[in-house]
């Protein structure tokens, strides 16, 4: 009896210590994080490098292109280690959904694989008080053409043969047109299975833009996110077409470079340069540097050059944009938006891209992007 009471007392006191201890610790914890976040903000601002958090805080919602989702994730991870008071939430639900969310005022910025259309700019004027939506090119990337032909390495194709293959006009791998481009390769007698995306996709849009620009006589379709040519096989998503290429002998398809791995070889594209070009991040950046800014005002939408003459410029590239208001951004999210976009356009931010399989923007373009971001209001 006595013993029990003693034990109970002991347990009670232990419990009390635990509770107060926990309270004290959590109190300390919250103090600490508050201190470090403001402290790091100060120190980085004074150092003038890395991330400038400014007075950014709160939650930043964004939505859009799934093609740049991995890049955004990498940026957010870095950014939030410095600016702990900002929570960035990027849903990669697709360019179309992102632009819709933006024009309805649900998100601070949207990601998109293609620049705003005129009617979307009109719609954006309703949410941008006194301004309009603008495109900021931020992420580039090569669209690789992956293939699965046993015994054939370093396959070279040009725009014309690609167009004919994807339009089901060239149906066998031992076709003369392919043989002419690959005099040394042993091309098998194998049916070509051209895979395309079954979902609507910015990758399809950009790939067909290339075919339209570089092989206008052989690719007569209008273009757009939905695949238009008849015939061939299709699969859902970049991972779906990559899977299709991997498992099907004779398959060929287009996909973002990061999907073309584990047994998928990529086509070297014959351009107007002397040597066929490999699909790499560096070669994509070289091609994007020939792009022209065609946006008016602060809009920086690009017109890519799909027939580059420079050596080592990979022509099938994709540029994804961040879409924000040039004026009239919401007051509560403007500091965070500006701070995050400044970071991703900075040298550190762009350097992170090639690690994630994307191509950084060329110097000339990113400089314009930086100055445009600094003027956002």
């Amino acid at each position: 009896m006595k013993l029990q009471r003693k034990n109970r007392l002991r347990a009670l006191s232990l419990g009390a210590v635990a509770v107060t201890g926990a309270l004290a610790l959590t109190a300390c914890g919250s103090d600490d994080t508050g201190g470090t976040s403001s402290g790091s903000g100060d120190s980085t601002a004074s150092a003038g490098s890395k991330v400038d958090c400014g007075d950014a805080k709160g939650q930043l919602l964004a939505d859009g292109s799934s093609a740049q989702k991995n890049a955004i994730d990498a940026w957010v991870k870095q950014y939030q280690t410095s600016c702990k008071s900002v929570v960035i939430n990027y849903k990669g639900s697709g360019s179309g959904a992102g632009i819709t969310a933006f024009t309805q005022g649900q998100v601070a910025f949207a990601g998109s694989d293609s620049p705003l259309k005129p009617e979307e700019v009109t719609a954006s004027k309703e949410v941008c008080d006194g301004g309009q939506g603008i495109d900021l090119p931020m992420v580039g990337g090569p669209i690789a053409v992956g293939y699965n032909v046993p015994g054939v390495e370093n396959l070279v194709l040009d725009a014309k043969t690609l167009a004919l293959i994807f339009d089901s006009k060239i149906t066998n791998w031992n076709d003369k047109a392919i043989a002419a481009l690959n005099p040394d390769a042993k091309l098998p007698d194998l049916k070509i299975q051209a895979f395309h995306r079954s979902d609507e996709s910015g990758t399809t849009d950009n790939f067909t833009k290339y075919l339209i620009a570089a092989a206008p006589d052989n690719w007569k379709y209008e273009g757009g996110k939905a695949w238009q040519a008849k015939g061939g096989q299709s699969a859902q998503g970049s991972s779906g077409v990559a899977q299709g290429v991997k498992e099907t002998k004779g398959a060929i398809s287009y996909m973002e470079l990061s999907y073309a791995k584990d047994g998928i070889s990529t086509v070297d594209v014959k351009t107007e340069a002397a040597e066929p070009v490999k699909a790499t991040v560096e070669n994509a950046t070289k091609a994007i540097s020939e792009a022209q800014v065609v946006g008016t005002g602060k809009d920086l939408s690009l017109k890519l050059n799909y027939t580059p003459k420079a050596e080592g410029a990979y022509p099938i590239t994709l540029v994804t944009y961040e879409i924000v208001c040039d004026k009239g951004n919401k007051a509560e999210t403007l500091p965070a938006t500006k701070s995050f976009l400044t970071y991703i356009a900075s040298e550190d931010g762009q350097a992170l891209l090639s690690e994630a399989g994307y191509a950084p923007m060329p110097e000339e373009i990113i400089t314009k992007v930086r100055s445009t971001i600094s003027e956002l209001s």
Binding site: S66, S93, G94, S95, G96, A97, T100, K191, Q193, F195, S198, D199, E200, S201, G202, E222, G224, K225, A226, W227, Q228, K230, G231, G232, Q233, S234, A235, Q236, G240, Q243, G244, E247, T248, A251
Partner: protein
Amino acid sequence: MDISTKKDTVPPPTPPSSDAAGQAAAPGATRIGDRIFLGLSRGSGIFLLALMAAIAVFLSYRAALAISKDEANFFTTFEWNPTANPPVFGIAVLAFGTIVSSVIAMAIAVPVAVGIALFITHYAPRKLGGLIAYVVDLLAAVPSIVYGLWGALVLVPHLGGLYGWLNDYLGWTGVFEWQGGAPRSMLTVGILLAIMILPIITNVSREVFRQVPRMHEEAALALGATRWEVIRMAVLPFGRSGVISASMLGLGRALGETMAVAMVLSSSFEINLSLLDPGGGTFAQNIASKFSEATEIGRDALIASGLVLFVITLLVNGAARLIIARRKEFSGANA
């Protein structure tokens, strides 16, 4: 006599009173519990009607918006391009693909499901039957995206052999002609859907076969029927309407299956006569794959296609009810 008439006259006073109580209970429900239950069930019924009406109104409104902008014939166009200027889209391929894939699924699943149900109820030892029933139930618990993954990663790579065999022996029909593409065709989708709808058909059929009156079976056995004859003459006729209802439930799932089809089918806006060549599409698959990148009109166009699926499902269910109503006399409910 007198006494007997007296005895006869004594009871009458009680029946009227009980009758009156019965009459009062039937329509009005005198007890509080009855009244609450009546209110709840009536409310649920009306809620369901309102819900279906709301869905129908929403679909029709958005569909009307899209179809008014469609430059092509909505029912006969083999194209889906609502972002084009002017927008062009039609459901011909989707309707064809939805119906064909569901029919294949039914053709495979119904005989297998009835077979499993008969085996469980009439052939298998009790323990084995219970185990099989349990495993079939588990099939229903697998999410459809897992079926999609399994279909794309396991089923598709292994179907080449079957396709080659079909092409060799039945290729001359045209329906089983194979050009050697990846086996991501309507037949593959049908096989996958058949597996997915198996549990629902099996379960309902099993319960129906269990309900067959013991007397029927014993009477048939007494007449010298073999076990197969018992099943043919007593069990199957009794269970027919139940099996049809079960199949319709399964068909409902097959018509509306989304992710598994989207992951397995090599879809395109073409109709292939051959079931083995890639191409075609289904309503649900098309909505799932096109929705995320669709513009506003694109979304309305997808909703319009959803309305067509809604109507097809209504028609199928109506037809099933007609068939079941016609076979009521065989159902054994009055036996």
